[in-house]
Amino acid sequence: MTFNLTLIAIFTAGGFIYSLILPKSWRKWTLFIASILAVYALQPPLLIRNMDFILPTVTIFVTVFVWIATLPRQDNQLRITIQWRDLFTIAVLMLLITGLAMTRFLPSEWQLLTASRPPAPLDVFLALFPLALLIILVGGIQINQPRQKVLLSLMILVIIGVFIILKTDRLALAFSGWLREQTGRDATLANPLTDLNWLGFSYVAFRLIHVLRDRQTGKLPDVSLRDMLTYIIFFPSLTAGPIDRIERFQEDLVALPEMNGRDPSRIVIGSTRIVIGIFKKFVVADTLALFALTATNAGQVTYAGGMWVLLYGYAFRLFFDFSGYSDIAIGIGMLFGVQLPENFNRPYLKNSITSFWQSWHITLSNWVRFYIFSPLTRTMLRWKRKPSSDVIVGIGLVATMVIIGLWHGISFTFFIWGLWHATGLFIHKMWSDRTRKWYNQFKKKQGQLRLWNWAGIFITFHFVVVGWVWFVMPDVGSALSVLSKLAGVGF
């Protein structure tokens, strides 16, 4: 099931019931249970049997293991103890997953919480029980702080490894074929889109890495298993973000029991964001999708103006689609008492590429800044023979933007898209550093400043829009063909 209007209506209605009727003390558990159920309900059906049940289960248990790995330890600590509250969470988790498997016995039209008929409950229990046992036992293993850091690094590498496999077409195809062989299916029919469409993994992976890395740097607060799971798979933001930070998310969870459920401001703001999001996504974006650039229609265009229409269509469709989803997620989150971070702030009206990246997919940009750009530039600054600050910034920007590109899919076109933006950011940095004095003169001349501002918006917008060609076209050849057609050449 995708994030469709029916599901949005269910979540919104759920939000009203949750706010207005539900006892305050049930709120955290409700969010936890709803998120666990939603991770199964939102997962699209897959062609390998039970895979659409297994992948959400893996998401949950990877999170559980990450939580164990990130439990705070002291140098001289012999063992960590899993608290009773967390053991209770594991028990509820077991019950929920086994309960979901039991919906197998319902008529198929009532199996609404899983993408397809779930596996046998006994099989699920027998698979989960050893896992639960392992969790409890692992909790007792002595791991001191240095060893924990190694473990955390290993876990980050594993998550990155899985991410690379899923996001690289060839590797995903090979993995899909291997999975088919293991399950006695025809490997020649392997297709990652229908076999391995792991809902929300891109976002889950980045949240998990954030948690692991913050434990390594000692910034991670103490988090219960329930709160960690709720954070990682919080259902409004599971499919399309935003990528929240755990310490901020936890503040909202802590405040939940005291939240005034009948606060009209929260209801109005949350509902309005949902309605605006629905309009942006299902009216504007879906309409623009009719004439947005695709690999097919790019080949049909007969003149440059037509190509520009398609490209503008794509640029606005992408913005309204993505920011619409973010609005819906933020609105639903508000109804449930969680203030998810903003993800967009009028990005196409920014007068520089730097401002654009401060207002487009803000939470992803922040994540990459925290975990890639800042550590990398800090490291380079500590080198004995440190390069010039321009080189450091350049390397940092390239690394950051290429990773943002590859996060969307590991291909040469996404790589170039990352480089495109890194180049833009670097040029803007150099330009603004060298023209600051000159630019300050404008501040006294409002008319010229306004003109300069509009010129900046025009240039930035078109830089971003032309960059989308690398984002949408499947290979370098077709992207170059589109770019040449935009210039009126190659028809």
Partner: protein, 389 residues
């Protein structure tokens, strides 16, 4: 960015929420009631970006099942279809406006729109003796339904044609009023039936629900969406110049035919062409056309010469049916003094593509030349020329 929402002038209250909900509900009910009362779909359909913001289509929009490939929506809304066509543009003073109706062969299946009959004929730059330019509009549409053609004709008359060319074949006269476009326009068909005393045998109920809910904005949302999609695909069509997805290779209609003399499921031992075909709809066309000349054309078709061609002319027609049809239609033409030209064998087989009626661009050009000759002949001498009469 969200300051207007987060920091309102007055704090939000439950009274505010109640007022918004009540006002929104009342407005929603009122708009729906107005919509039911005014029934504005037909009027809305004629308000279009085509011919205003961007160019009209060169043929009626037909997207098959997937409009994303063809930049055209398949729909049953005849006013919207015709309003999106070039014919809905202002008629020039020196324009002699010719409108053509017909099936997929005339619509131009597997051809880019610029290669279809209307644009090709217009590009031939024919001028009449009085100096008017012959501008031809292709209002043909896939599948041969004569009742549908009448519905198109009825709507097209408001765009002031000077001449109508109606290309038909035997299947056009097989009374099959159960196609979606006819069933979804039953009110318009009934209007024709009542005005012209037609006999139409509807085998099924109209799928168009007439209850109150179906007349509301919510009930008509699919129709409204199609209207919107029709406008938006126009942007793409204008941008790309493509309104039909053409495969890279198109098979040829077979010259060797099956050993079967049935037409559809009708066997000559049980049926005659007279049982199956009815020509009385043509009269309605002449009534709709009024003083405007209406020329009936028996559509050119592929005539097989291979195996079993003694039984059939092609995959579509057995000889018994088509021969009888031609004879019967010629008789009706003579009785009613219709303008008619039988072009069934006017073009060589090399022009046909995957069906006996689909032609390549050269075939269409050849047919266009024949028709233009006929038009000028008629306008100058009052007869169709060739050996039509």
């Amino acid at each position: 960015m969200w300051n207007w929402l987060i920091n309102p002038e007055k704090p939000y209250t439950w009274g505010f929420i109640a007022r918004v909900v009540i006002k929104a509900t009342l407005l929603f009910i009122l708009l729906n009631l107005l919509f039911v009362l005014l029934q504005p779909i037909d009027a809305l359909s004629r308000y279009t970006l085509y011919n205003n913001v961007f160019a009209g289509r060169e043929r009626l929009p037909y997207g098959g099942d997937d409009f994303s490939q063809s930049n055209a929506v398949t729909m049953d809304n005849i006013p919207a279809m015709i309003a999106s066509h070039q014919i809905a543009r202002q008629k020039a003073d020196d324009e002699f406006r010719v409108v053509i109706f017909g099936n997929s062969g005339i619509w131009g299946f597997w051809l880019p729109s610029s290669q279809t009959l209307g644009p090709q004929m217009t590009r031939m730059n024919t001028k009449l003796a009085d100096g008017r330019r012959v501008v031809v509009y292709n209002l043909a549409y896939p599948y041969p339904y004569i009742i549908r053609d009448l519905l198109f004709m009825d709507e097209a008359m408001q765009y002031k044609p000077d001449m109508i060319i109606w290309v038909v074949s035997a299947a056009s006269f097989w009374e099959d009023p159960n196609s979606p476009i006819i069933l979804n326009n039953l009110d318009k068909v009934r209007h024709l039936v009542e005005n012209y005393g037609l006999t139409v045998h509807f085998n099924t109920e109209s799928p168009v629900a007439t209850d109150f809910y179906s007349q509301t904005i919510i009930g008509k949302r699919a129709t409204l969406l199609t209207l919107l999609q029709n406008q938006l695909t126009g942007i793409l069509w204008n941008g790309l110049g493509i309104d039909h997805n053409i495969p890279s290779s198109i098979p040829k209609t077979p010259n060797d035919l099956p050993d079967d003399d049935k037409w559809s499921s009708f066997s000559p031992s049980q049926y005659t062409a007279e049982n199956l075909l009815s020509f009385h709809f043509v009269d309605v066309g002449y009534n709709l056309a009024g003083d405007i000349p209406l020329i009936m054309i028996n559509q050119p078709m592929f005539i097989a010469t291979g195996e079993n061609s003694y039984l059939r002319y092609n995959l579509d027609y057995p000889r018994w049916l088509f021969d009888d049809y031609r004879a019967l239609f010629a008789k009706s033409v003579a009785q009613n003094a219709w303008l008619y030209c039988d072009l069934w064998d006017a073009l060589p087989n090399e022009y046909y593509t995957d069906t006996p009626f689909h032609m390549n661009a050269s075939g269409i050009a050849e047919l266009g030349r024949i028709l233009l000759e006929m038009i000028t002949h008629y306008m100058e001498l009052g007869s169709l020329g060739r050996d039509c009469e």
